[in-house]
Subunit: 221 residues, 2 copies
Amino acid sequence: MLHLVIADSELELVPKSIVEHPAVVNYAKKRKKRPEEVILEGSYHHSALKKLEDGERRGRPDIVHICLLNALESIANREGKLRVYVHTRNDEVIYVNPETRLPRNYNRFLGLMESLFKNRVVPKDLALLRLEEKTLGELVEEINPDGVFVMHEEGKLVKPRAFGEVLAGLENPVVIVGGFPHGDFLSEVPWEKISIYESSLMAWIVINEVLVNFEANRTFL
Amino acid sequence: MLHLVIADSELELVPKSIVEHPAVVNYAKKRKKRPEEVILEGSYHHSALKKLEDGERRGRPDIVHICLLNALESIANREGKLRVYVHTRNDEVIYVNPETRLPRNYNRFLGLMESLFKNRVVPKDLALLRLEEKTLGELVEEINPDGVFVMHEEGKLVKPRAFGEVLAGLENPVVIVGGFPHGDFLSEVPWEKISIYESSLMAWIVINEVLVNFEANRTFL
């Protein structure tokens, strides 16, 4: 089983310090929610983000959405060889049931995330998504892997195909991909760092490269 | 150069026959546009879609968005080895400049498409996206490829890696992927049909498999 962790994702509710900002208040009103119940979204809350520490990278649920659409529909997941976790900048972990069929529409995805942050589990009966307070280190320990790799611009340069071979040779590897637009991990990442390309790639592209090359080295393809 | 065509995409303006439907009128009003200027979107215009032929598959710009985000950010494109085209159900072709940095936010993407359908080219100065009336057959002829492959559930089953090798051995292959949620091509597709998996896959997953396996067989990786 390959364990994919989208780490330090910029996915969070609007922080308390900006719930009264007009950009947030108006957005929440339009969506018929309370300001503290909506997911921070950089495109919509741009002016409010300027008031926040790390504001230039925060509010990027779109990255999580695209990463999940690629991972959950992948052949590796269809074959039952993948587990996906979303770890956030506030040290929450979302456990994603591999059967989850995520909304393709971004606004519906935001609604689902809002419901998840409110109820800690969605949908109530099936619990396809479950949110817990947990650090990246605690998650990795819990998975108890036989290899942990952090995808990182400054890591050891390995061709994607060769990296797929390494993963396919392990029983229970963890691959950590940053769920943020730029900059570095906020969490400590004391594991082997791997780079698959000479310059930086979007998180979802790294995921595609990892999953496709992992699959191609497994007997199920 | 690999030429990727997302064909018979369910990307169109709201058809005339439903511009007066309340679901469309209300949506357009919210977005401060005229009903005939907005892109048909299945999640928002669901009740109006029921009045349309093929309504159960139409209004899926989200598929085009995800496919383009994966293709344009891919290593193949970063290396200058890819050209991407979006062909629509109404026989329009969008030529996508490989330098295009597409909006990650879905609502902004919809705005960009609306502008493209209105002005036929966006942005006016750079012309990163350009729309022309053209059939799939005419587009393929224009590209003048040395191989044309249609990704199709009922095609010849080939492992993704082996298919990547075939593509890498050609100078100018065209790969056609259906930009619709289910069903078959509307256009005639009188070319070799290839299936890379035993059951159907989302369009963007097929694109990921094709691009990653193509890259891995080229000298640039």
